[in-house]
């Protein structure tokens, strides 16, 4: 980086052995912090570094990376799976887990060597931490100071329900809610703030009282005025308005309007939904978030080495690990498992650095705004703040990277016998590849668009769901049937799901449950 190129050689070594102790960690953290804040100008939440054992790491891992979670058998299942993968050596453990909270909690494993601890702290405590605090999605959609309290509340609430209604009853609701997690985030409106438990308690009391009175929606007394409108269209309009249809947040809809759910059941749905919502930005920024963390750790570790604060041996250990993390196996390699978000993210961040500092003519043409500006940090910070994976790729993927990765584009239409190579890494293909890659990271391609569109309020209460197909991709009907039986459990009455091809408006698939 241009503005930090001066070398200050002769600082003292932070550590010289692989073993770590608390003093060394603290000393190293300070050195890292100095680079992160004063040289790179990162803006982070205060950090809480917690040392845990590998077994505790497995624990944390299996409860979707959170320090506390309500109990459910599925977390036990992932624990058992992770455990055997780890023990058999198929997969390493995460070296770190970082939690988007204020203070930012960063777990490090006791088994790590000191170099690994330094790497993890740079990566998580500064890279991820900066991203969490500054990226617009996280800012808008997550609530860093409330999440831990909320999880505590959730855990206690679920436990209380188990005591009152039995483990099995609670488990059923959670099973069903989990099946809908992907379809249960607010994509368009900002979610409500996570309430602290006091407010929550009051709200529950209020709602319980209300519910004990009556449910407006399901009242059976004829409504004097509205009964008079025979007009079907008008009736439907009113209905939609009342129910907020169409609604793409399935759990939200069921939580608010299900005729069969008791209050505690709705509250459990709400908990699952809130947690799903909390993770929603992570899904959309995976590549950028990892890229930011990798760029940060790479920069910091190099600076530590340049300033003589870590030894050559540590540097080699670091480079070995770093290289493995950001490796991208090619499509025909047995190790290929899709695009590695670490690889792409890191490469793009480094590429931006290159374009800022050492642009070619091509770069000047493609990125007139910042090529040669020498403002790496500003450019990166702006990107980290204002983009998500999809838009970031669309804006910043350079022809050089397309060439470096030797990207190519396969067009795969299941109706045709063969796959077709649409674009490759040549002049004609850069833009097309860039947009296809961006589309691959878009919300539309990651999640299915399923909405509640109708409720037969006067008849048998059938709930109608609509699946808007994307690229003619139908639902896997075996899975869909299973999910629908879960929805049925939550709704209590018949469910109807239609897949519609938006191009032709025809119903392609219909499932009843």
């Amino acid at each position: 980086m241009a503005d930090v190129s001066k070398k200050e050689i002769g600082k003292e070594l932070l550590y010289s052995q692989a073993e770590w102790d608390f003093l060394t960690i603290e000393r190293t953290f300070k050195a890292i912090e100095d680079i992160a804040l004063n040289e790179m100008g990162l803006d982070v939440y205060p950090t809480q570094v917690e040392v845990i054992t590998s077994e505790q790491m497995l624990d944390a891992y299996s409860s979707i990376g959170m320090p506390m979670m309500y109990n459910h058998w599925s977390f036990g299942k992932s624990f058992l799976r992770d455990e055997i993968m780890y023990k058999k050596g198929f997969s390493g453990l995460a070296y770190e887990i970082v939690i988007n909270s204020d203070p930012c909690i960063c777990y490090i494993m006791e088994e790590n060597s000191m170099t690994m601890q330094a790497l993890v702290m740079s990566h998580a405590a500064f890279g991820h931490n900066h991203f969490f605090k500054n990226n617009h999605l996280f800012k808008q959609w997550t609530d860093a100071d409330a999440i831990l309290d909320y999880l505590q509340y959730a855990k206690n609430y679920v436990a209380k329900c188990e005591e009152k209604h039995g483990v099995e009853a609670v488990e059923k609701i959670l099973d069903s809610a989990h099946a809908l997690r992907d379809q249960s985030v607010d994509k368009y409106t900002r979610p409500q703030k996570l309430d602290n438990s006091e407010i929550q308690k009051r709200e529950i009391q209020r709602l319980e009282y209300e519910q004990s009175q009556y449910r407006q929606l399901w009242r059976t007394l004829p409504e004097i005025e509205k009964e008079k409108t025979d007009d079907q269209a008008e009736y439907e309009r009113i209905l939609s308005q009342k129910l907020g249809l169409p609604e793409s947040n399935l759990i939200y809809f069921l939580e608010k309007h299900s005729p069969v759910l008791e209050r505690w059941q709705s509250e459990i749905l709400r908990i699952v939904r809130s947690i799903a919502q909390y993770f929603y930005p992570q899904k959309q920024t995976k590549m950028m978030n990892e890229g930011c963390a990798c760029f940060t750790h790479y920069h910091i570790m190099n600076r530590l080495y340049d300033t003589g604060q870590i030894t050559e041996g540590s540097m080699l250990e670091f480079i070995d690990f770093h290289t493995r993390v950001v490796a991208q196996p090619e499509f025909d390699s047995p190790y290929y498992g899709g695009l590695n978000p670490y690889a792409l993210g890191f490469a793009m961040m480094k590429d931006i650095e290159r374009i800022c500092e050492n642009p070619t003519d091509e770069d000047r043409e493609w990125f007139p705004d910042f090529a040669g500006s020498n403002k790496t940090v500003e450019t990166l910070k702006d990107a980290w703040e204002n983009f998500r994976d999809e838009s970031f790729i669309l804006q910043f993927l350079s022809p050089k990277l397309v060439r470096d990765f030797r990207f190519f584009n396969i067009y795969d239409n299941m109706k045709k016998r063969d796959l077709e190579i649409k674009n490759i890494h040549n002049q004609a293909g850069y833009k097309a590849i860039r947009s296809a890659l961006a589309a691959q990271h878009s919300v539309a391609n990651m999640d299915l668009d399923i909405q509640v569109t109708n409720v037969d309020l006067k008849g048998d209460r059938t709930l109608t769901l609509l699946h808007w197909m994307n690229n003619e991709i139908e639902l896997d009907d075996k899975e869909a049937k299973r999910v629908i039986s879960h929805i049925r459990r939550l709704w209590g009455y018949k469910i109807e799901l239609n897949s519609i091809n938006p191009l032709t408006n025809e119903v392609v698939m219909s499932i009843d449950g």
Binding site: F29, T47, D182, Q328, P329, R406, F408, D412, L448, H486
Partner: protein, 438 residues
């Protein structure tokens, strides 16, 4: 700003409850897998953990997902070698990479779910509905004694547990800190006063001195009253915890014919039977000794390796093994202190003239001392086909069968293949069997 916390001492195993929930949910499948694990493969390694595979189906968590066989996908891959735009490549066979590598995100789909059970979990599930048959020594089996274990000190307790040394140490420390006047100090003062008082003619200086001394004495003895020699605060009691200590121990005799007629297949089956029995006994007893006795026409005690692996030739005389067993019981495992189990595996070949002796030994000598004696006759499948049932059973079988009539703690079963082992053991030791006394 940074804060570092050592969480390593936090309770680990946060997932234990989730883990148990999972096991409970998958119980039926796990049970089957556990049984298969024993029946279908070598169980020579039952130490440590057991890997279990169960069908993922029942534990599947469904989600709405796209059908991988339909639709249009535009995908970017890295590492182009020589593709040119417009090239056609044939679709990799179903669900391959080209069609989307996210076919099953969890890596499970319809395949098997694999995980490991701890040894305890494994055995719990495995032996869930089995119980040791015990007809004689019920009281011994379930009895546990309590043993006292030192558990530091506490402030309350029974006088007999008063820890004098620590109490005095505390008292001394407190007295020193609070400056409690010592006996010597007071005695010295009193002596001084007496000395002054003893003077017949007291000068003013003496009087003043006397007054001063008396004052000091008063102050000091006051102080002594306020600061007791032993305060309740000083008292410490040695504390003990009662820990349950099972007194039960068992010995298991493994008897096997190793003469030429026992093939490797026979031995393998016998081995599995003994192992299961052993596993089972470890569950019930804190200590299980195993005694291996093999015999041809002569019997001897051997180690496990020799028992299963070396091969002898010679005649077969079963009674010799029973005699050796009896000798060992007398010598090392007196029946009043030990729960004695025996399992005998044989192909049923015996010297005809020896059968009567076996019957006698078993009925009159061994069974009265044993908790349970199980005889397993191993047939290979061809034999089974030829003899077709028990009618044309072996001599030994017939002999033992007659013993079987009158004795509750005796069982005989026939095993023809690995798959029989577990059901047979289960049959021998099933709970109902144990309760009804067969």
């Amino acid at each position: 700003m940074m804060h570092i916390i050592d969480r390593r001492l936090n309770p680990k195993g946060k997932s234990i409850s989730n883990r148990q929930r999972f096991l409970k949910r998958a119980k039926k499948q796990i049970k089957k897998a556990v049984n298969d694990a024993i029946t279908n493969r070598k169980i020579s390694n039952t130490e440590g953990e057991e890997n279990i595979r169960i069908p993922a189906d029942g534990l599947h968590e469904p989600r709405f997902i796209g059908d991988q066989e339909k639709g249009i996908r535009d995908r970017i891959f890295p590492g182009n070698k020589d593709f040119m735009p417009g090239d056609k490549i044939s679709r990799p066979p179903s669900g391959g990479k080209g069609a989307g590598s996210e076919a099953s995100e969890d890596g499970e789909g319809e395949d098997m779910f694999q995980f490991s059970l701890t040894r305890d979990e494994f055995l719990d599930i495995f032996f869930e509905d089995m119980e040791l048959p015990d007809f004689v020594k019920t009281s011994i089996k379930n009895e546990t004694t309590h043993e006292l274990q030192r558990a530091g000190y506490r402030r309350s307790g029974s006088p007999s547990n008063l820890n004098l040394k620590l109490t005095m140490k505390n008292s001394l420390a407190r007295r020193l800190c609070l400056r409690r006047p010592s006996d010597e100090e007071l005695q010295a003062l009193e002596a001084d006063i007496a000395k002054v008082e003893a003077k017949k003619r007291k000068t003013d200086a003496d009087k003043e001195m006397l007054e001063k001394l008396r004052q000091t004495l008063k102050k000091k003895s006051g102080r002594r009253r306020v600061i007791p020699y032993i305060d309740p605060l000083d008292v410490r009691f040695t504390s003990f915890n009662q820990i349950e200590k099972p007194t039960t121990h068992a010995v298991m005799f493994c008897l096997m014919d190793v003469s030429g007629s026992m093939s490797e297949v026979h031995k393998d089956l016998a081995k599995r039977f003994f192992m299961l029995l052993h596993l089972f006994l470890i569950r019930q007893y804190s200590k299980v000794d195993i005694v291996f006795i093999r015999h041809t026409h002569m019997a001897s005690e051997v180690d496990e390796d020799t028992f299963f692996h070396s091969r002898e030739t010679g005649g077969t005389k079963v009674s010799t093994a029973l005699e050796v067993m009896n000798d060992i019981i007398k010598e090392r495992y007196p029946a009043e202190d030990w729960n004695i189990y025996a399992a005998q595996a044989s192909d049923g070949d015996n010297l005809t003239s020896d059968n009567e002796r076996c019957q006698y030994l078993l009925q009159n000598v061994l069974l009265p001392q044993c908790q349970y004696f199980a005889y397993v006759e191993i047939w290979d499948q061809r034999e089974e086909a030829i003899f077709n049932g028990q009618k044309s059973a072996t001599n030994l079988w017939q002999t033992y069968d007659s013993v079987n009539m009158g004795n509750q703690n005796f069982a005989i079963k026939k095993v023809t293949g690995a798959a029989d082992i577990f059901p047979v053991l289960k049959d021998l030791f099933s709970k109902s069997n144990a309760q009804e006394g067969k």
